[in-house]
C-alpha cells in the first residue's frame, strides 16, 4: 500500500514522536518495525516510515529484507518437502517448515484426497503464524472457497526476490506488471515470502520475464522501458 508517505529515514533505537497533524480518532495501529515500550514507540527496523490515515491510523516501517518471517494471513508459495500422515510439510523460506492438512483444500474429504506430491508448489495462506508455534497453512479461505489458492500447475519457473520488490509488485496498478503484460501473455503467482512463479508460452519468454522481474529491483522506470522496447522490437 503506497500511500502518502513521510520520507523520514529512521534508524533503530529511536523513540518516535508521532506528531499527528490531526488528532487521531480511535486506536492507532503499530505495524511492522515499530514496537510499544514503556517509554513510548520504539523503532526496531530501519526504513521509511509510512502512514495510513484510514480507520484510526496505522504507522509502519517499510524496510528492505530478503529473509521471510511468517505472518498470519500472508499468501505464500510453499514447496512440499514431506508427507507425514495426514499433513504435508512445506518449505516457505522461514525458520520452520509450515504444515498443511490434506483437508485444507477446496472440496477435499477423507475419501477425496488432493493429489499432492513431494516437490509440488502450493499457493496458500497462513492460518496460524506466530513466534511460538509452528506455522500452519490452508488453501481455502474462511468461506471454504479456494479463491486462487491450491497446487500450482506443471511447468513454469520459480525464483526468489527480495520482499520489498514483492510488495511493490503487489501494489494496485503496478507499472512493472502492466509493462510486462504488453510484451507477452503470462501467468504470474506472487508469494509474500519472496517467491515468484512465472509461466509463459515458451521457455524463452518465461526466462525473459524472469530476468526483467529480477532486474526491476535495481532498474529505474526509464531503464526498464528501454529494455522492454528493445525486446518487443526484436
Amino acid at each position: 500500500l503506497l500511500l502518502p508517505a513521510q520520507y523520514d529515514e529512521d534508524a533503530e533505537g529511536e523513540r518516535l514522536l508521532l506528531s499527528a497533524g490531526a488528532a487521531p480518532v480511535g486506536r492507532l495501529l503499530c505495524g511492522p518495525g515499530l514496537r510499544r515500550s514503556p517509554a513510548g514507540l520504539l523503532v526496531t527496523k530501519c526504513g521509511l516510515l509510512r502512514h495510513r490515515p484510514a480507520g484510526g491510523g496505522a504507522y509502519w516501517v517499510d524496510s528492505q529484507q530478503k529473509r521471510y518471517v511468517p505472518v498470519k494471513g500472508d499468501h505464500v508459495i510453499g514447496i512440499v518437502t514431506a508427507k507425514a500422515g495426514d499433513v504435508f510439510k512445506l518449505d516457505v523460506g522461514g525458520s520452520e517448515p509450515a504444515s498443511l492438512s490434506y483437508l485444507a483444500f477446496e472440496g477435499a474429504t477423507k475419501r477425496n484426497r488432493p493429489n499432492v506430491q513431494v516437490g509440488d508448489l502450493i499457493y496458500g495462506q497462513f492460518l496460524v503464524a506466530n513466534k511460538d508455534m509452528e506455522p500452519e497453512m490452508v488453501c481455502i479461505d474462511s468461506s471454504g472457497k479456494s479463491s486462487g489458492m491450491g497446487i500450482i500447475g506443471q511447468d513454469g519457473f520459480l525464483f526468489k526476490v527480495s520482499l520489498g520488490l514483492i510488495r511493490k509488485l503487489l501494489a494496485p496498478k503496478c507499472e512493472i506488471i502492466q509493462d510486462l503484460s504488453q510484451l507477452y501473455p503470462f501467468e504470474l503467482v506472487l508469494g509474500m515470502n519472496g517467491r515468484i512463479w512465472v509461466k509463459a508460452k515458451t521457455v524463452q519468454q518465461t526466462l525473459i520475464i524472469v530476468n526483467i522481474l529480477e532486474a526491476s529491483e535495481y532498474m529505474t522506470a526509464e531503464q526498464r522501458k528501454q529494455a522492454l522496447a528493445r525486446l518487443s522490437g526484436n
Binding site: G13, T44, Q64, K66, R67, S95
Partner: protein, 198 residues
Amino acid sequence: PAPASPPCPPRTGDTSVLAGLYGPAEAKLSKELPDRAALEVLLRPKVGLPGVLERSREQQLRQTCEAVVLGVLHPRTAVTLVLQVLSDAGSLLSCCLNAACMGLLDAGLPLSALFCGVTCTLDADGSILLDPTTRQEQEARAVLSFAIRSGDRKVLMATTKGSCSVEEMQQCLAAAQRAADTIFQFYRDSLCRRYSKD
C-alpha cells in the same frame, strides 16, 4: 539458507571486514533456546585458521549483539553472523563491531538500538589517539576498545590491553562517545543513500 544480508564491507582506514548475516533460520536442537534466538558469531582471519584470539573476539561480539537484538521475537531460531577480515591495518575489533551492526541493519533483524565500535590508544605521556594503526597500537601503553550504544551512548562492551588508570579510561571513554556520533551519522547517510534509490 540464502544469506539474509548481502555482504557489506565497512572500512576503518585500511582495515576492512566483510559481514554476512544468516537468519532467523532453523536452529539445531542442541543449540536452540526456547525463548530467544540463538546468536552465533564466526570471525575468520585473513590468513590461517581461527585461533583463540578469534574465539574471544567472537564471544565479545556475540555478547554485544545479544544486548541489542530483540531475540525474544524469534524463539527457537538461529542467527549466524560471519565476519571475514579482508585487510587488517589496526582497530580491527571496532571495525568488526561496525560491520556487525551494519549487517544486522541490512538484514532487517529487529534491534532495540544500534551500536558502533571505537578503538583508542594511550601513549606514554597520556595523550589519546582514536582509530590507531597497527604500529600505533603496538607502541602505545594501552589500547582500549569500546562498543557504544546509540541513543543514550552507553557502553555495551569495553576491552583494554595494557595498563591505564581509571581517570584515563574515563577520558578515553568520553573521546570514544564523541567519535561514536560520527559513526552513527555515517550509518544514517549510507542507509539514506540505499533507500533513496526507490
